[in-house]
C-alpha cells in the first residue's frame, strides 16, 4: 500500500536554515556581509582590490572567494592588503551557506566589520542561494552588452545594488548606460546603481561610502 506524505517545505530549507544562523552570527558581531554576483570577467575581484585599498584602513575587512579552481583571486586580494580565503567549489556554479560556514572556520576571520563574498562567476545559479548576506550586489561591465538586466532578471531584481563596471571603456563600446539603468530600475525600483572603474578609480569613493553607510546603519540597528 502506497503512503502519501504532505511535506510542504522549501526545497532549499537546509540552506535557508544555515543562512539564517549565519545572519544571526553576523548581526551579533556587527559584520556587514555583501554577496557579489556577476558573470565571469566582469570585474568582481578588481572592484574588491580597489575597495580594500580605498576603505578606511581602520575597518577590518576580509574576502571569501568562490571559484571552481585556482587560488588566484584570494592571492590578488591578499596582495591588495586584505585577508582572503579561497573556497573551491570543484565544478559547482555557485556558493551555498554550508560552504560559507566551512570557509569561515578554515579562514579563522574574527571581529570583521565587512565580509565580502565573491560568488562564482555566474549570473543565474547564485541567485537562489541565501548566504546570510545583508545584500546582494550585481555587477555588469560595459563590455558585456546593455541588454543583460532584462536577460537575467532574477539577479537584477534581487540585488539591492547594481555596480556598472569598466566605465572607463564606455567610449569604446556600444553600451547604452541610461537604458541599462532604466532596465535595472524597472526590475527593482529601489535599486542603487553605482558606476565604477577599478582602473581609473571613478566611482570607487561612492561605492565605499555606500558600504560604510550600510555598516553604520547595521551597527545602529544592532547596538
Amino acid at each position: 500500500m502506497k503512503r502519501v506524505i504532505s511535506v510542504r517545505k522549501r526545497a532549499l530549507a537546509a540552506n535557508d536554515e544555515r543562512a539564517g544562523s549565519l545572519r544571526e552570527r553576523f548581526a551579533a558581531a556587527g559584520t556587514l556581509v555583501v554577496n557579489l554576483i556577476s558573470s565571469p570577467g566582469s570585474g568582481k575581484t578588481s572592484l574588491l582590490e580597489a575597495t580594500v585599498r580605498r576603505l578606511d584602513p581602520g575597518l577590518r575587512c576580509a574576502v571569501l572567494e568562490g571559484d571552481v579552481a585556482t587560488q588566484r583571486d584570494a592571492e590578488r586580494i591578499r596582495a591588495a592588503g586584505a585577508p582572503a580565503h579561497q573556497i573551491l567549489t570543484g565544478g559547482a556554479c555557485h556558493l551555498d551557506a554550508r560552504q560559507i560556514v566551512t570557509g569561515l572556520e578554515e579562514a579563522g576571520f574574527t571581529d570583521l566589520d565587512i565580509l565580502f563574498i565573491e560568488n562564482v562567476g555566474n549570473l543565474i545559479c547564485p541567485t537562489s542561494y541565501d548566504l546570510g548576506e545583508d545584500f546582494k550586489v550585481a555587477l555588469l561591465s560595459v563590455t558585456e552588452g546593455d541588454d543583460k538586466p532584462f536577460k537575467y532578471p532574477a539577479i537584477f531584481s534581487r540585488a539591492e545594488v547594481t555596480v556598472v563596471t569598466k566605465i572607463d571603456l564606455l567610449a569604446h563600446v556600444a553600451f547604452d548606460l541610461p537604458a541599462v539603468e532604466e532596465q535595472v530600475r524597472t526590475l527593482n525600483p529601489s535599486a542603487r546603481i553605482v558606476r565604477t572603474s577599478a582602473t581609473t578609480g571613478e566611482g570607487i569613493d561612492r561605492w565605499c561610502s555606500l558600504l560604510t553607510e550600510r555598516l553604520r546603519a547595521k551597527g545602529a540597528a544592532t547596538a
Binding site: I5, A11, A13
Partner: protein, 119 residues
C-alpha cells in the same frame, strides 16, 4: 546548472520525509516551482533522473507543479499578462508598476512512497 544541487536537496527532503514515516521506496515527489524561482523545470527533471539513477529510488518520478506569478495593476485594477520571457514589471497599458504576488515557489509539497513491508 544549479538544478543539480536543487535536485539533491529535494531528494534529501523526500528521503527525510520517508524516514520520519518508516522506510520504503520513493514513488513520486511533487514540487512547486514558481516562474520567478530561476529554476528550469526541464533541467530539474533531468537532474532528478541523474540523482535517483542507480540507487534504491531509481525510477522515482518528480512531478512539477508550475506556479505562475500573479500580477495586477493597482492603477487599472486588473490582472495583466506579461509577454512571454519578459520580466517587465510595468503595466503595458498605463505604465504603473505592477504588484506581483507568488511565483517564487521552490517547495517540496508531497511524497508518495511504497513502504518496505509491501515491496
Amino acid at each position: 546548472m544549479h538544478e543539480m544541487g536543487i535536485a539533491v536537496e529535494i531528494y534529501r527532503a523526500a528521503r527525510d520525509a520517508v524516514r520520519d514515516h518508516g522506510s520504503g521506496r520513493l514513488e513520486t515527489v511533487t514540487v512547486s516551482i514558481g516562474e520567478l524561482s530561476a529554476v528550469e523545470p526541464e533541467l530539474l527533471r533531468f537532474a532528478w533522473e541523474a540523482v535517483v539513477a542507480g540507487g534504491p529510488d531509481a525510477g522515482a518520478t518528480l512531478s512539477i507543479r508550475w506556479c505562475p506569478a500573479d500580477q495586477h495593476c493597482p492603477a487599472c485594477g486588473e490582472a495583466k499578462d506579461r509577454s512571454d520571457g519578459s520580466w517587465l514589471r510595468l503595466c503595458p497599458d498605463c505604465g504603473n508598476p505592477l504588484s506581483i504576488n507568488g511565483g517564487t515557489e521552490l517547495d517540496v509539497e508531497q511524497v508518495i512512497f511504497v513502504p518496505e513491508e509491501t515491496t
